[in-house]
């Protein structure tokens, strides 16, 4: 099978854009199904009262990760044609720190904010406006911080390369960590429900 299909030229840009909508529908659907259209629910994660964010995120990561591994092993997907994101260590760390503050302050991330807005949450609309402002701010600042923004590049490096483990072993470690996390999360939630 020649997958990723688009990389093998099996369909063109117009179809790709149509497919984007379809994927987006699935994305938005499951985000809302998880209850992520609500900032209150999302924020509970950071008070250890409702750990749905952790559960959903890591289940999704594990699912896609296992899926890619096995589809590649079966020869159905050519992993070398799936773009690994390039690492810029310091900017991504700093960006993450800033993002984290914004997340617990605003109660949304970009994707969930869209879901919230479309289901009527006015705070979602305001948050959206804030995000536009933040992005605009970045655009204006970029000429000044451009060099820093591209500092500490490490290329398309993966965890298995950093730890010198095979892809499969890395997958196992992540799955084990996730399962342990889920077990802990369930326990924590049980405890907070009974108080």
């Amino acid at each position: 099978m020649n997958a990723p299909f688009y990389q093998f030229g099996l369909f063109g840009n117009d179809t790709a854009l149509l497919f984007a909508v379809v994927i987006g529908i699935g994305f938005g659907f499951f985000l809302e199904q998880a209850g992520f259209g609500s900032s209150v629910k999302l924020a509970q994660q950071f008070y250890l009262r409702d750990l749905t964010v952790f559960k959903v995120m890591f289940t999704a990561i594990v699912t896609a990760m296992l899926g890619l591994f096995w589809l590649s092993w079966l020869g159905l997907v050519d992993l070398s044609l799936v773009r690994v994101l390039p690492t810029y260590l310091v900017p991504q760390l700093i960006g993450g720190l800033v993002f984290g503050v914004g997340f617990v302050m605003g109660g949304y991330c970009p994707g969930t904010c869209c879901v919230a807005a479309v289901t009527g949450k006015m705070d979602g609309w305001i948050h959206l406006a804030g995000m536009f402002a933040g992005i605009f701010l970045f655009g204006e600042l970029l000429p000044l911080i451009g060099n820093w923004y591209s500092s500490t590049p490490m290329g398309e490096i993966t965890l298995s390369q950093i730890f010198n483990l095979s892809h499969g072993t890395m997958v196992l470690l992540i799955v084990l960590a996730a399962l342990a996390g889920f077990y802990g999360a369930d326990k924590l939630e049980g405890r907070s429900r009974s108080t």
């Binding site: 984290g100 289901t119 655009g139």
Partner: protein, 165 residues
């Protein structure tokens, strides 16, 4: 929905994107396209001489909306609405805890939004583009981003406690 099932659903959507397109999901990128559209409409010369807006314009004075993520985010709106309608969660409301006013919530929402917008651009992605997509691909920077997000969120959560309960 059982969070694990929702997670599997989300993961399968992500996997499908990988298998069909060779790329993952995203959200902040689409928002950047909209910002670029606005800036280019108001001040095209400025937009076209700025590296950030240039990237989203594509060709000089190109259409930033002609982008995979823009179409994807349109889908997100549709899918979110469908799910909300099915679950009866579509209602004009302000989501907040009982202990603060609407205006306070709005201020925090706007401020939080600024930080999210800024943070996601600095990190070259957000929870969907970096954490989910990069996470599944075992990309080092993405995992660092994810850990940083959780760490700082937990660290400052106490500041906003009143807002949420």
């Amino acid at each position: 929905m059982n969070p694990y099932l929702a997670g599997i659903g989300l993961g399968l959507v992500l996997l499908t994107a990988f298998v069909v397109m060779g790329r993952g999901l995203g959200a902040s990128g689409a928002l950047s396209s909209f910002v670029t559209l606005g800036v280019n409409a108001v001040a095209p010369a400025h937009a076209q001489s700025n590296a950030f807006y240039e990237e989203y314009l594509g060709t000089p004075n190109g259409n930033p909306l002609n982008d995979w993520l823009v179409y994807e985010i349109a889908g997100v709106l549709i899918g979110g609405l469908i799910s909300g309608l099915i679950a009866g969660r579509v209602r004009r409301t302000v989501d907040k805890g009982a202990r603060i006013t609407v205006s306070t919530r709005m201020i925090y929402a706007f401020g939080g939004g600024i930080l999210i917008g800024l943070g996601s651009k600095i990190a070259r992605g957000c929870t969907s583009g970096q954490a989910l997509t990069g996470g599944a691909l075992l990309s080092v920077g993405s995992w660092f981003f994810m850990i940083a997000v959780f760490a700082s969120a937990y660290a400052v959560a106490y500041l906003f406690n009143r807002q949420w309960t």
